[in-house]
């Protein structure tokens, strides 16, 4: 195995969950998310010789995954479908462990009441633990826009959760 192949296999094993999760939380459909994630890794294989260091690879994977997932959403809209607004029942593959916190499953589903931009920013902020400044750089978006998406997204999540989770808690 060549050094590049070994480096790629290592990156694939370490980042597959991250890439798949970002795609899944933006797209909301496991099949499409897997397809996007595979495409991102194929692209990584071609671009790997240009990427220097682990941080560079991680940042590259985040950025490309967000862009490819957003592209897939646009294509879906152009084909006549609508952006995912309902939680896909296949969100969790059968093999995936069920989240021990049912509340979080509900919150994840609520993400799809947000716009794709808000969803993307919240996923990067809370899944990837990125600061708004870093998200702005990664997505090539003004910082004020990132902050606005975050603020508005959280507000929407709160208001939706207040209504839907009330029933859940009661249940």
């Amino acid at each position: 195995m060549s050094p590049t192949s070994a480096q790629f296999a290592d990156a694939l094993h370490r980042h597959q969950g991250r890439v798949y999760s970002i795609a899944l939380r933006i797209l909301g459909e496991s099949g499409a998310a897997e397809e996007v994630a595979q495409d991102v890794f194929l692209e990584l294989h071609r671009s790997l010789p240009r990427l220097k260091g682990e941080q560079h690879i991680t940042a590259w994977l985040r950025r490309v995954t967000c862009h490819r997932a957003t592209d897939a959403l646009r294509r879906r809209a152009v084909r006549g479908g609508t952006a995912q607004s309902e939680w896909d029942e296949n969100f969790l593959p059968e093999s995936a462990p069920v989240s021990p916190a049912p509340l979080m499953n509900r919150i994840e589903r609520l993400l799809f009441s947000l716009s794709p931009q808000q969803r993307t920013v919240i996923v990067l902020r809370y899944q990837e633990d990125m600061e708004p400044e870093d998200i702005a750089i990664e997505l090539e978006m003004p910082l004020a826009t990132v902050r606005s998406h975050l603020q508005r997204g959280l507000q929407l999540l709160r208001s939706k959760a207040e209504r839907t989770l009330k029933e859940y808690i009661r249940g």
Partner: protein, 116 residues
């Protein structure tokens, strides 16, 4: 209701803890590696073809250059040769004219032979 409100005060904290990366589907890495291998196989064929074409193009260019060079050399040689031949013919023509004019003069007038 109080519990409910407490939970949502901690929404951001819950997002931080709950939005962790989920594992990729079973066999995801295998599928990616298979696609990479497939892609490499597809790319290697055109590359091989490209190399073969480049080599052929280089050989053709070299042959063309050598042929052109040889042809140019031959052409220059032929031109120089034709020029040299023309010079010889001119020299012989002048020689013939000069000797002829001497002969004509000797025929017209009594010959005065040289006394070496």
């Amino acid at each position: 209701m109080a519990d409910y409100h407490n939970q949502f005060d901690d929404l951001e904290r819950d997002l931080c803890e709950g939005l962790v990366a989920r594992p990729a589907p079973e066999g995801f890495a295998g599928k990616v590696l298979a696609r990479v291998a497939n892609q490499e196989a597809k790319e290697s064929l055109p590359a091989l073809f490209l190399h073969w074409r480049s080599a052929l193009a280089a050989v053709l260019i070299a042959v063309a250059l050598v042929t052109t060079g040889f042809w140019q050399h031959q052409r220059r040689q032929r031109i120089a040769g034709e020029r040299a031949r023309a010079q010889v013919m001119l020299a012989l023509h002048i020689t013939s004219n000069t000797l002829d004019s001497i002969l004509q003069r000797q025929i017209q007038h009594p010959v005065k032979e040289a006394q070496p």
